[in-house]
Structures are given as C-alpha cells and as structure tokens.
Subunit: 342 residues, 2 copies
DNA sequence: CAATCCGATGGTAGCGCTGTCAATATTCGT
DNA sequence: ACGAATATTGACAGCGCTACCATCGGATTG
C-alpha cells in the first residue's frame, strides 16, 4: 500500500513523476542530467517538482547509487587563522559544486586523525582532504583502501598518498633566515610554539641556514609544545633574551608570535629593527599594518583550499590534474621589522 | 541472488549477523542499543563485526530510519576569529557525540542563508544551529517546517524560532560606552566595519548611551560595509579624526579594528589612553598582551558553541532545556587603552 | 497453577532512489 | 524508402538498513 507522499508529508520522486506523467527514472534523470531528456519532458518534470516542492532524499540517492557527494576534510585546528583561510577556499569552491564538505578536527593528533579517517570510511566519501604528510602507517593504509581522490594539503613531499598541494616549509624557513643573514644579522633566534610537523620543517630550514653560515647556537633556540598566541610570543622572547642577550634578530614560526615579540620589544624599549629584527610567518592581515610592520612569509592559503577541492572534483570527473603535486610557493614580504641596520 | 558481501567488498550487517548466528535485526540493535541484547549475543556480534571489519552504511541507516544524525550549522564567515571560537565549541561537543556537523557559510547574506536552509531540508538534519536572529520570513517558515531542534546563536531576542543562546549586543555596546563616559570621556567615536545585525545592535547601544548623556554627534560615527581588518581600523580612525579632531575616545566594534587604531595612534604619536581611549569588542587573545593592552568586551564564544550543540542533542533525547533562551552574558575587560585620564 | 507481563529475538516489508538493460521513438545515410 | 544508428524512455530489481509487530520462553503474581 503506497501512500501518495512520504510519511512526513514530503513529495517523493515517484510523486513528481506521476504528476509529470513520466516514469520515475525519467524524473530521476531530470535532476542528475537534464540534457538527457527531451525539452517537453524536462519542462513537465520541472514544473511538477516545483508544484510539489520536491526535495531529493540524499540518503536514498547515496544508498542507491553507492556513493555519496561528501568530501571529507581533516584539519588539526579550528582556531588557527591559517586554517580558516584554507577552509574558506575549500567552502567557496564546494558551495558552488554538488559536493558538500564534512569537516573534522584532529587537534594535532595523528591518532585522532586515524580514528576520524576510519569514521570517514563509513560515509564512502567522494574525496578526502587531509592536512600534512605525517599520517600514521595505518592511516595511509586506510586512505589507500578508500578508493577516492585524496589531497594532502599545507605542505608537499615526495610520497603523496594520491595528490598534494602546498609548499616547502623548509625552503620558506631557509629563505627567511637567508634574508636576515643578508641584512647582516648574526645572532638570529628561533621562536617556535606548538611544533607541528610543518613548523618542525621551518625549523630545519632555520637550522641548516644557520649551520651553513657557521652561526648555529642552541642558546638561540626556544620552543614550546603549547599552542601559539601573541602572549606566548612575548613570553618566549623574554626567555630567549635571557639565554642569548646578544640576539639581534628573531625568526618566529608565525605572525602571532611575531606580534607578541613586537609588543615585548616595545615594553622593553628594544628598538625594532635597529636592535632587533623580527620575521614572522603566514603574512596574516595585521602584519602589513602593525607598527612596525612585520616581515613575514606569505603563503597562498585560500588558493590552497580552492585547489584541493578542485583537484578532488576534477579527479572524480575523470579530469585528473596532470601534476599530482602542486607547489603554490611562498613569498617573503620584507617590511620594517627587518629593514637593514643603518 | 544475494552475494556474500557488498559489491565493493565490504561486509554488510547481514554478513555480520550470519557469522554471529543471529538475525540481522539483532545485529542492527547491537550497534544502536547494545544493552538490549543478552551478553552472549552481544559478544558474538561484536567479534563477528570485528572479524569482517564491518562499517555501517550511514546512507542505508538514514534511509531506513527516516532520520540522519547531522546537525546543520549556518555561519556567516569562516574568516572571522569570532566564529572559529564558536565552531571549536560546536565541534568539540559534536565529535564526542554520535552527531556530525554539516557546516555552511552564508557570507553574511540572508538570501544565501535561505537557500542553504532549503538545502538542509533535503538532509533532514537532526538539528540546526543558525547565526543570529535576522532571518528572512521565508527562512523562518522553512525552519519551522523542519521539525527538528533549532538553536539561534550569537545573540538573543524575544522571538526564538525554537531556542537561543547568546548575549545582548545592545547591552554590551551600552556598557562599553558607559565605561568611557564614567572615565570622563565626552567625544566618543564609533568605528564600525561590516555592519551586520549584531554590530548594528552594538551601535544602537552606543547611540542610546551617547544620547542619554547628551553627547551624540553624527560626526563621531564612521562605518563601512567592507569586512573588518586591522588595516581598516587605522583607515577609519584617520577618517574619524578628520571629521572630529577633538575626539577623545573611540569604540571599535571589534578588536581587530581596535588594534588598527592602536597602531594608527602610534604612527601619529597620539598618546593612548591620555589623548585617546580605545575600547574593542570580543576580547581576542592579543588584546590582553598588546601595548597598550586593549579594553574589550569579553564574550563566551566557545561556550556558546558548546551550549548550542548540547541544547540540540538534549532536545533530541527528550531532555529539552527548561530555558529556551540562554544568556551567556559578557564582561568588560578594562585595560590600559581606556584607563582613567590622570 | 493459570493469567499476566516482560525481555530478547526474529520475520516481513519497506525507506526513496538509481543501475542496468531492454524497448521504443526519431533521425540519418544512401 | 529502408535498415541502421542514435536519442529517449521505461520496467525491474535491488542498495543496506531499520520500523513494526509477532513470537517465545521464563519470571511474577494472586
């Protein structure tokens, strides 16, 4: 005994088909590939759907078609500005496509990431976007078994699970230090909070640049596993000054920390850049308009998000990008905080 | 002709049931309400599921049970720090529940919001979290028809669609201005970017407080529809100084703008707070550690997110909160930028 | 000891949609 | 004008799961 409508009173595809005088499958095609219908049927189905206020049942569609139109996104933080930009890129592209985004927060834990990846299996996502390249072996296995396009974002490496879009944090760190060295700085501190894998690679760039210049000194390095913040920038900088009072520059792994250093310098009346050069990372919006403005490494986070979704959708539609690894690069924005000493 | 497994090779509930020697429905119950099974069956199903690596098919479940376990979230911006905090609260609670979050970005457009709300209908979400109280009439109709708990967040009002959690932006604005007035300030500027409804209500608080003090002056007010930023804070402040050179305080609708004003004052060598008091809004992390530290209105954004999800889930589980409207309040954090003139 | 209740389990019948492939209509080339 | 190729359309049979109701044995009650 079939009713006229769904229990909750909504119209079904069959109801639309009946009203339009076509078979259910024809109506179904109207919503997925209207070009396949003759003009007349197309119009009939369209007006029938409108009249009934038909809304497709996504669960039924997913069940029948054996696939969903969900792209899973795993990011490590919802607070960090860096990820909000990436997310905006992701959502901007996704909202104009038929795919929807399922976002989860790994909180910088690769075990949590592994667990969430397993959860995604149940959804049979159409694609996956994961942060970074440091997944557990188990996570990689799960991903490989998932049979959908996968993009690793934020950084690039040699062994993509599938595809990648990002840039080299090592090179970026190296470039930042090279800049300071070229300005005549010798005692360049490293200031890092929450040493996630990408921050670690920025550090590697710092270390190698300093080593190459014969200037590496453990006393110049301070890090903490605590999350990053402006306040933490000031605190760590104070630490660093105790350990290396002759420090003449500091490389902060992000702009929040750098801003904290700027404020701490003001408190202590340390002249920037004369006595202390400061370089940040990410080029957040405030870095250009702070006083002094902060030299920083600009990265294309919004583009990264857009790219990632696009790579996923193109792959689904059999237009897989020729290059599985996309390097979006970075740009050192030199500003007042690291201008040459007079 | 039924196969042993799904086409893609995954085990189905029936396969688990067969291996465990129980009926499919018993196996089904194991995953939804294990307590209903006898210990022996429970163990049998559990080990069978593990052996087959069974992962439930969410689409099938949603179709058969006529409901999903998705909570839809509509927010106007993915960039604004304010929302990242709310989101973090939402995700923290949701990730420990059986509900998953479906997030969409309305980009401050109530028309886009309406469209997205319709999209959500198709998903039959278990609950909905929407930003603010300024939905279109059509949006309200759609929501009312959705037959699921709905929480409006960020602010409170008198006519909840269903439930609300937030605080009074009017009161917050009024309080901020009262503080400045009590410090002896008379020419208090208003600096607003992207005048969304909540910012508008902060403005109403400003206007009424100034009017009550007989100090309202249009020249003291500057706003722009452009999104907020630190840079914009400096720009608008410069505008304001031209229009009202005798200004002795400024209320910024958020801390980014306030930070921009701090920098602009430094550039112009305007002494803060002696010549110019500054009050921000939201109490972002940097406000406490900037130089000078910035007086701001602290709001419980993380809690707001947590609350919203909790209200939804409790309602679903028939433990609807007694109070449909939760006022999380705010707190004025008085700091250097608005200390009393000597 | 029969009547009653309750917890545990299973059978049946879909949920609303789409994949597959066959059946028709339509167009085209020669 | 005729067969072949192509464009449209439809019938059927599930997708994997759960709601609903029936069943059954055992505990409880007077």
């Amino acid at each position: 005994m079939r009713r006229n409508r769904t229990k909750s009173g909504e119209a079904r595809l069959t109801d639309v088909a009946k009203l339009a005088g076509v078979s259910p499958i024809t109506a179904s095609r109207f919503f997925r590939n209207p070009e396949a219908l003759s003009i007349s049927k197309r119009e009939r189905v369209e007006s029938a759907a409108k009249e009934l206020g038909y809304v497709p049942n996504l669960a039924a569609r997913a069940l029948a078609s054996q696939r969903s139109e969900v792209i899973g996104v795993l990011i490590p933080s919802l607070t960090n500005n860096v990820f909000s930009d990436v997310l905006r890129g992701i959502y901007d592209v996704a909202q104009n496509s038929r795919y929807s985004i399922q976002l989860v927060n790994t909180r910088y834990s690769i075990l949590q990431e592994e667990k969430l990846l397993r959860l995604f299996q149940a959804q049979k996502p159409a694609g996956l976007i994961v942060t970074g390249i440091n997944q557990t072996a188990e996570s990689r296995t799960v991903m490989q078994a998932m049979n959908c396009p996968i993009v690793q974002i934020m950084e690039i490496g040699n062994e993509p699970v599938d595809m990648m879009v990002g840039f080299s944090h090592y090179d970026a760190g190296f470039t930042a230090i090279s800049h300071l060295l070229s300005q005549g700085r010798k005692r360049i501190g490293f200031l890092g909070a929450r040493m996630d894998p990408r921050v670690q690679r920025r550090f590697d760039g710092y270390r190698d640049a300093m080593k190459a210049a014969g200037l590496l000194d453990q006393r110049l390095i301070v890090t903490t596993p605590v999350p990053t913040s402006v306040t933490m920038g000031g605190t760590l900088f104070a630490d660093l000054l105790i350990r290396a009072p002759d420090m003449d520059a500091v490389f902060c792994v992000n702009d929040d920390l750098a801003l904290g250093v700027v404020f701490e310098c003001e408190r202590r009346q340390i002249a920037v850049p004369d006595q202390m050069a400061i370089v940040g990372f990410n080029d957040l919006e405030f870095s250009a308009s702070s006083v002094p403005s902060i030299t920083s490494v600009r990265t294309n986070r919004y583009e990264m998000g857009r790219h990632a979704v696009t790579m996923v959708t193109e792959t689904i539609e059999n237009r897989r990008p020729e290059q599985p690894i996309v390097d979006l690069g970075f740009e050192l924005m030199v500003r007042q905080s690291s201008a040459k000493v007079a």
